[in-house]
């Protein structure tokens, strides 16, 4: 193409200018968490940069910022709005999952993190975090069987584990029939429904199976496990939908979810050998009977399979994580004021949403043993 030298120079010039502009824009937009209002250093480790779903919110007076588990999100948001109406301090809670919450608090991007799967003491010390339970809930086993009503079917841990391992495949298997003499169980295949996404509900459920039926359940206990059989549902809603659509299916969801959608739950045999139904009372029994004192300082307690005549075996607590050394005493105090309000005045809201509030005895333990370890400039932020 015949172009004069001046024309070619002009084209080259504009091309270089556009290119340089693009590179500059990319470089400026690259460090998106570099907003100067975020206190503390933003760690550049892969773990921190791997929480891409969290948008850093500047930590400021007037708002408590948290992120983490989806299981307690409804009650945290309710508490946040009630507290805002009472005291004028807002809550910004991003329900991105327990893993995201842990990563966020480790990177100091939020005031507090929320997790269904508590951290072990070694992890807490390594990241200088304090951990305490905030709310208790339960998981239930739901089934879809024509002719079986809510709370009728009885399952022992071994039978339940065997179903989820794929070893018991038919509903009229002798092991299930012998537990339920009054029910007519059909000769249909059992379809197992589990969670497809990584979740605290799975963590609690698999911990229960490992604790109560260790000889049968061998797939481990974590937020994601290699399920031997079954299809995955996306979130509790997905599991619930799949169970409701598939006749002969069995799954596990949070109690609140099952109750509000009217699903058919089962009875389970707890550690004491009694048949219990899921209810606020049986969850509270499990939470109260747990040995919180022995778990200090990490408060790592897995509430599954707790002793007690009325304890529901698949109970789980949801935990709060905070940095032990706070940079701003006023913001820390603001956050702990909210926590205190939740424990002391939030019980009715919690039970209305089908959660179990932490018993007062456990709260006083938290206040005396865990909260003094959270300091700002050397002195405890609470009281």
């Amino acid at each position: 193409m015949k172009q004069s030298k001046r024309g070619r120079l002009r084209v080259a010039g504009f091309a270089v200018a556009a290119f340089a502009l693009a590179i500059t824009a990319a470089a400026c937009g690259g460090s998106n968490s570099s907003s100067s209002t975020v206190p503390g250093s933003v760690s550049s480790s892969p773990a921190a940069s791997a929480s891409p779903t969290l948008t850093p919110v500047p930590l400021q007076a007037g708002t408590n910022v948290g992120a983490g588990a989806t299981f307690p999100a409804p009650i945290y948001l309710k508490w946040g709005s009630d507290y805002n109406a009472a005291k004028g301090v807002k809550l910004n809670y991003q329900a991105i999952g327990s893993g995201g919450g842990i990563a966020a608090i480790e990177a100091k991007l939020v005031n507090f993190g929320a997790t269904d799967a508590p951290l072990q003491e070694a992890d807490l010390t390594a990241n200088n975090l304090a951990q305490f339970p905030m709310i208790v809930g339960g998981d239930v086993v739901v089934v879809h069987l024509n002719g079986v009503a809510d709370g009728q079917l009885k399952l022992t841990p071994d039978v339940l584990a065997s179903i989820f391992m794929g070893k018991t495949t038919m509903w009229n298997d002798p092991s299930i029939v012998s537990l339920n003499p009054g029910l007519t169980l059909p000769a249909t295949k059992i379809t197992v429904v589990h969670r497809s996404d990584s979740s605290g509900t799975t963590w609690i459920f698999t911990h229960y199976l490992t604790a109560a039926a260790p000889s049968v359940w061998t797939a481990g206990a974590d937020k994601v496990v290699p399920w031997p059989v079954g299809i995955g549902g996306n979130g509790s809603a997905g599991v619930a939908t799949s169970v409701q659509q598939l006749s002969g299916s069995i799954g596990y969801v949070e109690y609140a979810y099952a109750k509000q959608t009217g699903m058919t739950t089962t009875q389970l045999q707890n550690k004491a050998g009694n048949w219990v139904k899921p209810s606020i009372a049986s969850f509270s029994a499990a939470a109260a009977n747990a040995n919180w004192k022995a778990s200090l300082p990490s408060m790592y307690v897995v509430l599954v399979n707790q002793p007690g005549a009325d304890s529901w075996p698949i109970t789980g607590a949801s935990f709060i994580l905070v940095q032990k050394s706070q940079t701003d005493a006023a913001i820390a105090k603001q956050m702990f004021d909210w926590f205190n309000w939740n424990y002391t005045s939030g019980a009715s809201a919690a039970t209305a949403l089908d959660y179990v509030p932490i018993p007062a005895s456990v709260y006083s333990l938290i206040q005396k043993q865990v909260w003094p370890t959270v300091t700002a400039s050397g002195s405890p932020v609470w009281p």
Partner: protein, 337 residues
């Protein structure tokens, strides 16, 4: 007016080549070089962005690539707790669901495009064409939800039992495997909804390309006594061949990468390869989407990014194949694109 005359006159004797580059008279026509520069810059920027994306994927997945080797591609066990990251089930599920989607969508799209261009009144063609284009603007998660509440029960209660009752039901690939869960959530259901999602793209592009077939050529065909079908097959489709191939590969790219709709419908079984299209499975995109937010372990994050890299490479390979095929077709039809 006098300015225009003097410009024209002043350049009357100038050689053609230099007229573009030199400013005419007193007016500097700067639009051309600016546009050319911006266009070149944008092109370069796009190329840099693509390469940059690939580089970022490789760098972030390096711990997984170096630590796990080819295990991601050859093993089936997905268990982050025990550091097993076998995504063979996801690969198989991606390919199977895309295959089902293409087998359903491509013939349907071509038939619809032919219908719209050749067989119906232009007004009807416009209306139906608009409706199909509206299908393209529906968010994919809406497809997923509608699929979960409408198509899954239909598959489970009516379609799958029916088809398994026919002789087709015992063919390999259709006969249920060990993971069969009623046929509701399955590779096939995901493929059907994917077909709905890619249909508008293939139809719209095919229709536009087929409209460009010269009327003269078609009339020549009719004039020689060809039937409508013969004209469609031998003239329209052949003329629009490369455009249709391009459209099909756009649809293919979309089907390979579709995340949320597939996540709702495919059953999320990570630990076994589907033996039948009615078995549940998983796909690479839905596996990543469902596990990324809770992946705290560095190796898990890296393995998920490696899966993203694999999907990226697969899509690029398909696009290269598409370009190669298009070039071959162009050469065969004498250079006509």
């Amino acid at each position: 007016m006098s300015t225009v005359d003097s410009e024209l006159l002043s350049n009357a004797g100038a050689p053609r080549g230099s007229a573009k580059a030199e400013p005419r008279g007193h007016r500097i026509r700067i639009g051309d070089p600016i546009f050319r520069g911006l266009a070149t810059g944008s092109g370069i920027f796009l190329a840099v962005a693509m390469v940059g994306l690939g580089v970022v994927l490789v760098v972030d997945s390096w711990p997984a690539i170096s630590g796990l080797g080819t295990h991601v591609l050859t093993t089936v066990a997905w268990s982050p707790t025990t550091h097993e990251y076998g995504a063979l089930a996801a690969l198989a599920g991606t390919f199977l669901s895309t295959l089902v989607a293409m087998v359903i969508a491509v013939p349907l799209a071509l038939v619809i495009a032919l219908l719209l261009v050749e067989l119906v009144h232009p007004k009807v063609s416009r209306v139906v064409g608009t409706i199909i284009e509206m299908l393209a603007s529906i968010p994919s998660i809406v497809f997923g939800m509608v699929g979960l509440f409408v198509i899954v029960p239909f598959m489970q209660d009516h379609f799958v039992p029916w088809i398994l009752g026919t002789p087709l039901g015992s063919l390999p690939g259709i006969k249920p495997g060990t993971q069969f869960a009623g046929g509701g959530v399955s590779v096939f259901t995901a493929g059907v909804v994917l077909a709905f999602m890619i249909l508008p793209f293939i139809t719209a592009v095919s229709r536009d390309v087929m409209k460009m077939v010269p009327q003269v050529t078609k009339e020549a065909g009719y004039g020689m006594g060809s039937t409508t079908w013969e004209v469609m097959r031998k003239i329209s489709l052949r003329y629009a061949n490369s455009g249709i191939v391009g459209a099909v590969f756009i649809g293919l790219g979309r089907a390979l990468g579709e995340t949320m709709a597939v996540a709702f419908l495919i059953g999320s079984v990570y630990t076994a390869i589907p033996h039948s299209i009615f078995d549940p499975g998983t796909s690479i995109a839905s596996l990543i989407a469902l596990n990324f937010s809770e992946a705290t372990d560095k190796l898990t994050v890296s393995a998920l990014i490696e899966l993203g890299l694999i999907l990226f490479v697969i899509t690029i390979l398909f696009q290269i194949a598409a370009q190669a095929w298009l070039r071959r077709v162009q050469r065969a039809t004498g250079g006509r694109a």
